[in-house]
């Protein structure tokens, strides 16, 4: 304990010292708890880029790009319906990906993913369409985990379709990205 020249103990030194140590400890704890989740984040950089017909095995799942279609219209699911089309001056994009889960440690009902479409520079991002392509002929699954009618199974190829609507001016510079939850990001190009 600090003592004055006359030998008496400083009145507040004990409390101030504890306050300083406690404050520093609080700052360290707050800093670490903020920094650690940030450090765990990883950018969604594609592990691989697939073109139609190409495939890759990542984290126990084989991915294959079946189709990457860019067209003004897509055939309707029901041949009696008119083809699906977007607003004037737009194009429809359909990306069909086949997945085969090989690793039994992959939980089939939690194999979620999110797909986006970007221009080459990544400055513009489209999310999947739910307005104009619902009646188009496409795989029943809109996501990686499958559906009740078409569930995901081990060692069985499962097709998922991602559809987008983009302005025609963007048609020449498109690539799709599929980010799997707690898994890799795969890029697809036409």
């Amino acid at each position: 304990m600090r003592r004055r020249r006359d030998g008496t103990a400083s009145r507040w030194s004990g409390g101030l010292r504890l306050a300083v140590v406690g404050g520093a400890a609080a700052l360290v704890v707050a800093g670490v708890t903020g920094w650690y989740p940030y450090a765990q984040l990883s950018p969604h950089v594609p592990a691989v880029t697939l073109r139609p017909g190409a495939e890759a095995e990542l984290a126990g799942v084989r991915y294959r790009l079946e189709r990457f279609e860019v067209a003004p219209t897509l055939p309707a699911k029901d041949p009696k319906d008119p083809p699906a089309q977007g607003p004037p001056g737009s194009l429809l994009v359909l990306v069909v990906v086949s997945q085969t889960v090989l690793d039994r440690s992959v939980a089939l009902d939690e194999h979620y993913c999110d797909a986006t479409l970007t221009e080459d520079d990544g400055a513009t991002v489209w999310q999947t369409d739910s307005d104009f392509t619902t009646l188009a002929a496409r795989p029943a699954s809109f996501g990686c985990a499958g559906t009740e009618e078409s569930p995901l199974r081990y060692d069985v190829a499962h097709e998922t379709g991602f559809s987008f609507v983009v302005p025609a001016a963007a048609a020449g510079h498109l690539s799709a990205r599929m980010a799997v939850r707690d898994g890799p990001t795969v890029a697809f190009e036409p």
């Binding site: 001056g89 991002v125 302005p167 025609a168 001016a169």
Partner: protein, 210 residues
């Protein structure tokens, strides 16, 4: 002539060492130190400015018919009618004792999909009115980049609150409200607003490429 200052009897100085001091028990000193820190933290929290909505927005303003532009979207009001009756074209006709503001709006989206789920009319006395939901089919909805959504919004507002009202195309409502851009559009209603007796049918919403 001024009187000489009265003499003040000098009092002998008391030695500092002889002044009696209150003794703070050693066991209480850490507690008092921590208490002081808590009081300081509370004082800082109370004195800090309230992070209200006004502080979290960078506003882009435009007059009637003009585009307000932000990095991710632009918006304009193309026409405004203040009426007492709106015929949606299906179901019941909406008649109101208040004023029905029928605004046609264009929103052009760039870079990122826009939900356009936080659009409201704000009066000069800072009251906010959401669009009538039964006319939502003619309203704004999720719009992808590169496209412009054209929509009609209908607000029911007391007519005396309408002068200098504006349309706000705010940042999309989300679980976390961050600092971002938003748009204020002058509806051009002026100081006095007359409610027209005519019936208006909102135009259906549409989407075009930008």
């Amino acid at each position: 002539m001024t009187a000489p200052p009265p003499e003040v009897a000098a009092t002998p100085a008391t030695p500092a060492s002889s002044v009696p001091r209150r003794h703070v028990p050693a066991a209480l000193r850490p507690v008092l130190g921590l208490l002081g820190c808590v009081v300081l933290a509370v004082a800082v929290a109370v004195a800090a400015p309230d992070p209200s909505e006004q502080l979290r927005r960078r506003w882009s303003d435009a007059g009637p018919g003009a585009w307000a532009v932000t990095p991710d979207r632009s918006a304009r009001v193309t026409s405004v009618a203040v009426v007492g009756t709106v015929d949606p074209g299906y179901g019941d006709v909406l008649a109101s004792r208040q004023a029905l503001v029928v605004a046609q709006v264009d929103v052009a989206v760039r870079h990122r999909v826009a939900q356009l789920n936080h659009v409201y009319l704000r009066t000069a006395d800072d009251k906010e009115y959401a669009p009538r939901s039964e006319l939502s089919s003619a309203g704004l909805a999720q719009t992808q980049p590169g496209f412009t959504r054209h929509a009609t919004l209908v607000f029911e507002v007391p007519s005396d609150r309408l002068p200098r009202a504006e349309l706000v195309v705010d940042a999309d409502a989300a679980s976390v409200d961050g600092y971002t851009d938003a748009i204020r559009l002058d509806l051009g209603l002026g100081r006095t607003v007359r409610v027209s007796p005519e019936t208006v049918t909102p135009a259906p919403a549409s989407v075009t490429t930008t």
